[in-house]
Amino acid sequence: MTSPNPSDHQRPERAADSSLAIELIGINKHFGPVHANRDINLAIKRGTVHGIVGENGAGKSTLMSILYGFYTADSGEIRVNGVPHAITDSRHALALGIGMVHQHFMLVDNFTVLENIVLGAEDSALLRPTLNKAREHLKQLARDYGLEINPDAIVENLSVGQQQRVEILKALYRGAETLILDEPTGVLTPAEADHLFRILRKLREEGKTIILITHKLREIMAITDEVSVMRQGTMVQTLNTSDTSPEQLAELMVGRRVLLRVEKGPANPGKVLLDVKDLIVSDDFKVPRVKNVSFQVRAGEIVGIAGVAGNGQSELLESIAGMRDQLGGTISVNGNVLSLDGDDGAKRARDAGLAHVPEDRLRMGLITNFAAWENAILGYQDKYGSGLGLDIAKARETATEYMKKFDVRPASLDLKTANFSGGNQQKIVLAREMERDPDVLIVGQPTRGVDIGAIEFIHNQIIKMRDAGKAILLVSVELDEIRSLSDRILVMFDGHIVGEADPATADETELGLLMTGSHPDRVVTEPGTLPEHETPIQQTLVQMSPKNNAGRETN
């Protein structure tokens, strides 16, 4: 049954007695002490787009991974087209017509599109016949759904949008009738997201069932027929999309009324503390990612950098923090030009009065194997003790102070940092970087993977720093966060700063266009293809790129 059937979509309509494509009944799943899914019931109607929303860690991805056979549920039943199945692995799920497009693509980067598509669905021990057949099949899928792609392209040379297309084609090639998409727009430009939604509509017209996991309410409102809300491992409610509102969904997701606005007074910009001039930076593969960027950040202001992930923001941030050699240009902190030669530039940047909250705390900001007190001095270790010795008592004192001030829980100095929740880990990093009284604070993704309660706290701390006269540079892929915190917004696209906006007056559509390249030669949108009602989707932007996340330490 792994052999794909080119005419899948032409199958006769199934008997109308069961209008449900998928039913999940009483699903439970534990990971050690964590109860990731708790008695979940869910029914999904055939030929609809069904949204599943929830905060990070609500259990959406786990639930879908169970349906896809990647995990096995501890208890509960799965029915596909009314028939109960014990889905043992992904191959089984595929055989039942369930396909999944994962948030982090499951592609082999140095394979061709064609090789990726047939991987695991080969017809015979020799590749050639399968490849030839798949090539023909792809042409047909391209015709039917508008999924054009060069079958011989190497995947790593494709844009993320195209890679996602390969993932969808993979599922369709295997005869998927139900397609699960996990946070599919996270890495897409607005135009690509738009294109994706057109494809999803087309698939729905052809009778496919789509399950869309997202935490972006606008997408839910724009494309789904029904929406289910999850919170802390439980299924809260399933609603008709037309009967609900983003406000109601947000409240269901969080379990209380959410204040999405940040209270802050007007900025009082003083002298220039951070001055970046003609900066050119390349990534680990020597590809230039920051191209001639210049800007200034003054005392008492927050400058936000908006952009789709992967447009050079990470490299910009790391370069200013002294962790990446620059190919050209200068960075000055408080009037002093930083010298960034060698691989200990971060030390010199700190000495010059710069503090850095990195985008990925687990990869860079913390040593998860260290106790909390050890991480509380990471980067400032040289300030503890006079000679060679490390003044452990003083370090623990500092850590105690930080934990109290930032309400880190549990306030245990000796607990391994890995055992703190994401929000508390982030507070340790923030306390360490903010409490040193730096002149310049650069912050990447301050609230990524952090629960809502901590988000409010973190935002308030950042505002407090600004009001204390610090220069703050903020990089975030959450446009809402940039808009609510920043005093000025710079938009980055393809390594350039392509525009500046005032958060008070900036229109989301305008920002969205800037983020996708406003240069005439860099337009990636397909003009004139967007129907009126789809415009809100353009504002939808990105949360994290798999590239930013892929380097997690594996030891």
């Binding site: 992904s90 592609l107 980067d109 990726n116 991987l119």
Partner: protein
Amino acid sequence: MEQLIVDLTLILDSTTRLAVPLILACLAGLYSERAGIVDIGLEGKLLAGAFAAAATAAVTGSAWLGLLAGIGAALVFSGIHGLASINFKGNQAISGVALNFLAAGLTTFLGQSWFKRGGYTPQLSGDRRFNPITLPFANELREVPIIGQIYYELISGHNIITYFAFIAVPVTAWVLFRTRFGLRLRAVGENPKAIDTAGISVTRLRYQALIITAVLVGIGGAYLSIAQSAGFNNNMSAGRGYIALAALIFAKWRPGPALLVCLMFGFLDAVQFRIQGQEFPIIGEVPVQAIQALPYILTVILLAGFVGRAVAPKASGIPYTKER
């Protein structure tokens, strides 16, 4: 001119002989590393294979049974490596180093217990070894200048494992790039998640790779003790496993280039014997130790990337865990 060709033919002939264990070990490493498993234990497997082959051949009187035993020993070692690095998600470098020590200790210990010859196995002859095969018409063509000589000296007159090693190279290339198994093997070394989400067992695939690795390196070990030499002696692998690893890296994990690099090391080895004891202008006599160290020094230089950088299979060395 004639003499030059004869000389050259002879050097190339011994190049071939010396390259065989490297080629087999290198291809063996290629399978496991392409599947994402770093195999520093190649050295130990080579040694264990050599010992098992010689001991079995000595006892049973059959080179073929010796070969099977060599493969068997390598399989056991691969099994341990698999347990440590696939099932228990241990550190693959540590596991490999442990296996190398295990082979060094066990072969000498068992050799002494069984044969009481200070770690040597008994001298092998006749059917206890793989002897040279004379290809058809080799003797007839011997007198034909150049072509005949090359055929007689270089192509004909090797043992069966040598021919196997050279055939294994194109076969490996074919398996890797033309078959379903090869596709999956390459995929699991680059992105095991892609394999897992396609419903294929990562564990099974990696064990399959380790089995092929064991078969090839086991044959390589058998070559050392019952084809190239007439018996086992202590530490007879002499770092070939490490050199094979370096060759693999230099060949960027591709079979064709791997063959060339192994031949180059074989050539170096062959030339070694020629320079020993000879006086050279200016530098004089090269000390034998310098010649002995040469392959290792060259390997260090290759690894340092002074001759081009290599990118390993991405998942190489990382145990696969379903993420939570």
